[in-house]
Every structure is written in C-alpha cells, then in structure tokens.
Amino acid sequence: MKELSASELGRRLLHLLLSLFILLCVTFVIGRVLPADPVGAIVGELADPAAYEAMRTRLGLDLPLYQQFFIYLNNLLHGDFGTAILTGNPVSQDLSRAFPATLELATLAVLISTFVGVPLGLAAALFRDTFIDKIARVVSLVGHSIPVFWFGIVGLVVFYATLNWVGGPGRVDVYYEGIVTPATGLLLVDSLLEGETEIFWNALSHIILPAIILAYAAMAYITRMTRSFTLEQLGQDYVIAARAKGVGPARTVVSHVLPNIAVQLITVLAISYGNLLEGAVVTEIVFSWPGIGQYMTNALMIGDMNAILAATIVVGLVFMLLNFIADIASAILDPRTREATR
C-alpha cells in the first residue's frame, strides 16, 4: 500500500469540484432557463400583472442570467435551497429529514447485494459452465431486466398482503411512529440506541422487503462483474502455482483471487451504491418510504422546482462523492492505476 501524493489528491479533488460545478450549472438551466414561465407556475395564470411583476422581482428573474446564477450559487453555498411549496419548510430541512431514510434503505441494500453477489460471482467463475454458473447467469439477467417498481408491487402483494411475512409500506407500524427520537435518522440504529428492541424488529420487518428488492438489480451487476474479474484471474500463473502446491479450489479463490480483485470490486460496489440511491426513488414510491425519492416525486406532482432541484443536487453530490472515494481507494490500494490515469 502506497501513499497518495498530495498533487494527485488535489487533481482528483479538482475534478470532483468541476463535476459538481457542472451539475449545478445543469440544475440551474433546468430550473431557471428551461421552464417557459416560472413566475406563472407560482402565481397562477390569472394573477394580475402587478403581482406577477412583484413575484418576478422577488425571484430575481429581472436580473441578467449570470447574476441570477451567481445568486443561485451563493444561496446553495449557504445551504439555502429555497422553500418547498408542499411543506412550507425550507427544502434543506425537509431533505435532512428524508435523506437518512433513503440512506438506510440503500445501505442495507448494498450490504445484501454484496454478501450475496460476490460469493455467487466467485462460485459462478469457479464452477464455470456448470449448473451454478447457469443459475447465476439467469439470476443476473433477470436482475438486469426486471422493472424494480413492478417487482416491489408484486413482492408487497405476495409477502405482505398474502403471506404476511414482512411489514407493509412505511418505515414502522403506525403506532410505533414518532417514539424514537431521531439521533442519526437511521431508524434501525436509533431504536437500538434507545434500547427499543420491539421497534427495531418492527422496523426491520418493514425495511427488509424493499431492501431485498432494491438489492436485486445491484446484485445482478455485482455477480456479473465478480464473475468476469475472477475468470480473468483464474488463468494467471499465481493461481496455477497455488493449485499446483495443493491449495484447494475454495481456498484459492478466497485467499488468493479475492484480494487481487478487491480493487476492481470496490469500484463496482461504489457504482452500485450510487445506483441504489437512485433506484431507491421508484422503490420508495411503491413502499411509501419517506425518503428523498418520495419527497422528489411528491414535488414533481405539483411542479415544485426548488424541491426537485435540491433533491437532484443532493443525490448527484452523493453519487459523485462515492465515485471520488472509489477512485481514491483504488489509487491507494493499487499503485498501477495511479500511473495509468494520465
């Protein structure tokens, strides 16, 4: 393991900031330039011209575009995303409440998909062209093709309404709501911190189905990538040497191959995590999960651009941060990639 040089880190940070800046430009264009009449959207079509002008000035739309952009950036830097029409709260406050719910769901999903996907991919590569490999291929093909919202609806009907194995929509049953004071915002963690095991189990029964369904698509991707990384390694000399000195197939894979594909896997896992945050949007609708996805969709219904853009920026930022962390991690763990990237 080598240290990452400061200039290298600085360069990557610069790229991150550039990406973020462009994301902000894009959201600015979406929010301020594309809508034909943002003022009319707020005051209504029949508003009298004086009120229209007043709102136009209040929104700062009478200023030149570059000044508007500057004000927009300045507000964002101060954490001011504007006010949400739906709740009347500042958007930042709404988001800080919704984000932990999404984070909890996506984190559990990424754990599930990793702990199922990586072993499955390893097994598929090790027992190539056998029954296991075929199962893994079908599982990941379907995972790449299934509409996650539909899968969620079907899962809800089968496992909640019919079999009653899991909790229904929402994060907990109604009568448990509001008991736990949010410390981290992650209900599973908070309930344990307060020693409310009953709530913990209830919350777990609620999160498990959406998490599994969300995890499935990511698992398909992780399985597929693990399989192809492993297959690349299995032909290498060091694997043949290990086998020749009498190391069993399972041990070869776990203690010789796995460390060698770890670097590539980290990137895959980071990408999956980002995709899961995104996939959570439609999953949350189906499971009435009070996260960013549901917040964003509710805002979409009434055309609340402040809330939509803030959610876009937050998810985009997390997405980019994950990419950045994966980048750094692979550079630290694998000195080869440091030279390879220009």
Binding site: S145, I153, L156, L231, V282, I285, L300, M305, T312
Partner: protein, 300 residues
C-alpha cells in the same frame, strides 16, 4: 492528375455495407448454436411484428372502454383481463409495444451518432481535444441519470418526447467512451496511414476510414443499453412523466393498476411481464451479439 491512378492507388477499407453483410451472415450461422440468444432474437422479432401490425393483431382498440366489463379476470374473451375502464389489457399491451419500440429507437438514433462522433473525434485527434471531451463524458457519466431525467421531465413538462430527450441526454457517454477506445486502435492501422499518405484530409479519414470501423461495436453497445432505456422509460411512465393517459404505455399501466393490485392483480402484473420479457430479450440479444462479434470478449 489522372483520376485512374488515384483509384488504383488509394487503399480503401471494405465498404460498410459489405462488412455488415459479411458479419451478419457469420453471426446468423453462429447463432444457430446459441439457443438462448436465438430465443432473444425471436422475441425481439416478434415484438417488432406486433408493433408494426398492432391494428391487425389487437382484438380490441387500445382505448375502447366497456364499463360493464371492467376489471374482469383473464378469460378467453380477454386473455389478460380488463382494466378499470373495461379496456382489454392484451390490446393495450400490443399497442404499447409501439410506444416502447418508438422510445428505444428514438433514443438510439439520437445517442448513437452523438456518442460515436464525440468518441471518434476525441480518439482521433487526441491531445487537448481528447482531454476536454472525455472529461465532459466522465462528468455526465457521474450524474445520476434517472434523477436528472426526472428533473428534465419536470421542467419541460411530462410527455413521451420529453422522456426521450431526457433519457438521451444522459445515455450517450458509454457510447462515446467505446467509440474513443475503438478509434484509438484503428487510427494507427496501416490503411489509415496509407490514406493519410495519399493526402486524405483529417475529416475524410475520420468519417470514411475510422468512424465506420466503430459502428459494429457501437451497435452492440446500443442493444445492450436498450434494456436499460426501456426500464428508465418505464420508470418515468410509472412516475407519470412519460407518455400521458390514455396512451397504453406499460409503466403508466402498472402505475394505474397498482391501486387494484390486491383484488385485481392482472391489471398491474401483465404490463410488468411485458416489460420484463422485452428488456430480457434485449439483454440476451446484446450479450449474444457481443460474444459473437467481439472475439476478445468471448474468450474471457
């Protein structure tokens, strides 16, 4: 300068049509040994036929309401049952293939050439052009595409065209990267050097000697992406941002069937199966094409 000499001397790569024809012939012969891939191709072919002949195939009109027949379970008269307005679900699914195919084709027609040109220009010219174009590509690649599509659709107003534009805006980077990688290999080939020696302009080399070589792999990549495009489009439809009612878009059908899920499961389940089968077919076909056309990949 005599034209004859030129025609003799210029080393021309084989024509694009001839090459496509040759590789298509090879592909079809190899395909016979791949039952799963064959099945994928058959499903896709069927989809296209269904989309083209929708008026002839569908037993009822897609928007014909028979309120007396509302929410009937699957039967001989209505193979997939009816929805809350008594519309025949099979007919709606059949007409919905048109929307799906239209979405997939439109996105591909936009994304393919855009990605190809950006990638080929970056790969061929290299240097600063390459750095700038690829940085832009990486940045768009690091955007959360569904979320961005949602925001676009929200700003431009919901509708099928908005959905197509929104998906296209975030779908070109993988194509550009691929085209760049391909052109990096091709630009050093002997026939390109020969063309340059004979004075072909950079633009001519780019368009006639390099871009055509990248087209087959771009097509494969597009096929693989189509499953993702279908899922994104269905998600947008499900959220009410795609084709608007009463048009029989599959995602929107699931969204409206969701309300009756507990008692009338078929309303939401049937369109989901249609989406699943279609994107499964695209995935299988994409995989198979890649294995068949790209020998490097098939080995691993």
């Amino acid at each position: 300068m005599s034209q004859v000499l030129h025609n003799d001397a210029i080393v021309k790569p084989p024509g694009i049509l001839a090459r496509l024809q040759a590789s298509a012939g090879r592909t079809i012969r190899k395909l016979a040994e791949e039952p799963l891939g064959m099945a994928g191709f058959l499903i896709l072919a069927m989809l296209v036929v269904v989309a083209v002949f929708a008026p002839l195939i569908s037993p009822y009109g897609p928007n014909v309401q028979m309120l007396s027949d509302a929410l009937k379970p699957p039967s001989l008269a209505h193979l997939a049952g009816t929805d809350e307005f008594g519309r025949d679900i099979v007919s709606r699914l059949v007409w919905g293939t048109r929307i799906t195919i239209q979405t997939v084709l439109s996105v591909s027609v936009i994304v393919g050439p855009v990605g190809l040109i950006i990638g080929v220009v970056a790969g061929f010219f290299g240097g600063r052009t390459d750095a700038i174009l690829m940085r832009a590509t990486d940045i768009v690649l690091s955007f959360p595409s569904l979320i961005l599509a949602l925001a676009f659709a929200a700003a431009l107003g919901a509708g099928l065209n908005t959905a197509i534009i929104a998906i296209s805006l975030t779908a070109w980077p993988p194509i550009a990267r691929l085209a760049r990688a391909e052109s990096l290999v091709v630009r050093n080939a002997d026939y390109v050097a020969a063309a340059r020696l004979y004075g072909a302009s950079p633009v001519r080399i780019l368009l006639l000697y390099i871009a055509p070589m990248c087209i087959p792999s771009v097509i494969v990549r597009l096929t693989l992406n189509m499953a993702g495009i279908i899922l994104t489009a269905a998600s947008l439809g499900f959220l009410g941002l795609g084709a608007q009612p009463p048009s029989p878009e599959w995602g929107a059908m699931i969204s409206s069937g969701r309300k009756f899920m507990l008692d009338y499961w078929w309303v939401a389940v049937m369109p989901g199966i249609a989406i699943l089968l279609t994107s499964l077919a695209f995935n299988i076909v994409g995989d198979t094409l890649r294995d068949l056309l790209d020998p490097r990949h098939a080995r691993s």
